[in-house]
Amino acid sequence: MLNLLKNEWMKIFKRAGTYVMIGLLLFFVTVMAAFIKYQESGGTVPDNSDWQRGIEMQNETLTKELEEYGDTFTPEMRHSYESDIAIGEYRLEHNISPNDSYSVWSFVQDASFVIEFVGMFSIIIAAGIVASEFNWGTIKLLLIRPIRREKILLSKYVTVVLFSLMLLALLFSYSAILGGILFGTPGEVSPYLRYQDGQVIETSMFVHLLTYYGLNSINLFMLTTMAFMISAAFRNSSLAIGLSLFLMFMGGTVTSLVAMRYDWAKYILFANTDLMQYLDGSPLIAGMTMGFSVIMLIIYFLLFQFIAFYTFKKRDVAA
């Protein structure tokens, strides 16, 4: 198995495209860092002394608005108001300033949108890893070894997962290092505050970022698995890339449109990929819980894997 993984890894890193992907990833982060740095040096550092007064005023307005127009609000709006007020009060109580100067952690958080690109690149690799062998004709030489087909496919899937984990780790560490150099590491890191079930919860910034990365990666992970499935079942990398990328960008939007009208939208994959909704905001459809989403994700995952392995095992290699 280790040998198979080495083979797959070698095939990925012997191609120029892989380095282009890594280069692009680092390039995006660098450009962003440069842009923020440039803006920061232009503006003035916000005055930190009077922040308590600011929050008090903000909370007063918010409470007033909530009382006056609360009845016309959608549940999401109501939730966002309540959350802002609660966090404001918590800040006053525990003396946590919101006007933290821009630091490495802020940058890591800002740069985390590049995860979308990690997703894109992982999909491209996943889409190609089985289909390319068919295109190149090398699948014939691969399947006449004394190794069961399931094992060959498994090694390819594991390679895809390792590859996207590597990109994520690279993104995290590169933006941390770059952020550290450009924006400095603050002596005392202010914690991250979030509002859940009527309570304000305090987590350290580092843990928050790891959770953020982890939960954001679920979407990436599921779509990569789907691309892999299409690649193995249909032997067509363009279809796998096209469909997966389309769903990556459009899936969420379409699902929330469906969700406005129909309840069954909660069974759609994309209603469940964003687990952040249970931590930060209200779920897409009332009644959905973290447990429900996790079960749905597992069902989808098993379905994708079953299709991929079943078709790959049964396939007559005739091309």
């Binding site: 040998n3 198979l4 080495k6 083979n7 070698m10 095939k11 012997k14 191609r15 120029a16 190149w136 004709g137 090398t138 014939k140 030489l141 691969l142 399947l143 006449i144 070894r145 004394p146 190794i147 069961r148 049964k314 007559d316 290699v317 005739a318």
Partner: protein
């Protein structure tokens, strides 16, 4: 001699159509078995079934006593194969390709890889990328790839496809050498009939998914009477004489050449007879009946 490969009553049905119909034959150690048939007869399908690329609908294939169907890993570890053109990873060097495939079998060492590279004569270019290789070099790399794990059975689907004459000769010599020296059982398919004649010990002829005939190469070509071509002057007089002498033989005249089908033992008699009748003889040569002629004969007969 031991049977290395046994095809037992194998059939393949694709979408309700019987592509291969109860095929049975066996290949022994040290033997080169040729697989011959018109396009679409099922040569490649059969070869792919032996290599495990295509499933078997009914029947079984045994390799050294292990079934490809139920004991794939055990059976296939003794097999080295090139199925059609050996497609390699073009973005990697020949050596990296061999390392890649070597890792997939047990006990392939670096020394073994280099030894194989030397055997197929690719030593100078092995570290270049495969995309810079000529077709002949790719074919040699393909051969190296299937010899890495010292297989006992070699399966080659159209191994000489697209090669120039020297490349064809090289592959042919390698195949003969491997069968003789290492006692491998080799299964070759080719559409080049003259090639098969020079390469194989036994030839199976397949038509419409059925094995029509299995013959020793020697038998396929040998039949008692042979065709000879005679250049003589005056030709008409010669034909007259021959017809008188051998009324039951087929004698024909085209341009200056007379063709005659006759037992080899009669040749000296013909010459002395013609010379005695003042006919000038410029040449007499045997026109060997090619495998192609025999092949067409057999397939035409059985096809009726």
């Amino acid at each position: 001699m031991e049977n290395f490969v046994e095809i037992q009553n194998v059939s393949k049905v694709i979408k309700g159509r019987k592509i291969i119909d109860s095929l049975s034959f066996e290949v022994k150690s040290g033997e080169v078995f040729g697989f011959l048939g018109p396009n679409g007869a099922g040569k490649t399908t059969t070869i792919r079934m032996i290599a495990g690329l295509i499933g078997i609908t009914s029947g079984d294939i045994q390799i050294l006593g292990s079934s490809v169907k139920t004991n794939f890993e055990e059976a296939i570890q003794h097999v080295g194969a090139i199925v059609e053109n050996p497609e390699m990873y073009k973005f990697m060097s020949g050596y990296q390709n061999l390392v890649h495939f070597g890792r997939m079998s047990k006990g392939v060492t670096k020394e073994k890889i280099m030894e194989t590279v030397e055997f197929v004569g690719l030593k100078d270019r092995i570290h270049d990328k495969v995309k810079t290789y000529s077709l002949g070099m790719r074919q040699r790399l393909g051969l190296a790839q299937c010899l890495l794990h010292d297989p006992k059975i070699l399966i080659l689907d159209e191994p000489t496809n697209g090669l120039d004459p020297s490349g064809i000769r090289e592959i042919r010599d390698h195949i003969r050498k491997l069968a003789r020296e290492k006692g491998m059982a080799v299964i070759v398919s080719s559409h080049l009939l003259s090639e098969m004649e020079m390469m194989c010990d036994r030839i199976g002829i397949i038509q419409q998914g059925k094995l029509v005939d299995v013959q020793l190469v020697h038998d396929v070509i040998q039949t008692g009477e042979k065709q000879f071509e005679l250049e003589a002057e005056p030709a008409n007089a010669a034909v007259e004489l021959l017809k008188q002498q051998y009324p039951e033989s087929s004698i024909a005249l085209s341009d200056k050449n007379i063709s005659i089908v006759i037992l080899k033992e009669e040749v000296p008699n013909i010459i002395s007879m013609l010379v005695q009748n003042d006919i000038k003889i410029y040449g007499l040569k045997e026109v060997s009946k090619t495998l192609e002629d025999r092949f067409l004969e057999i397939t035409a007969k059985k096809g009726e």
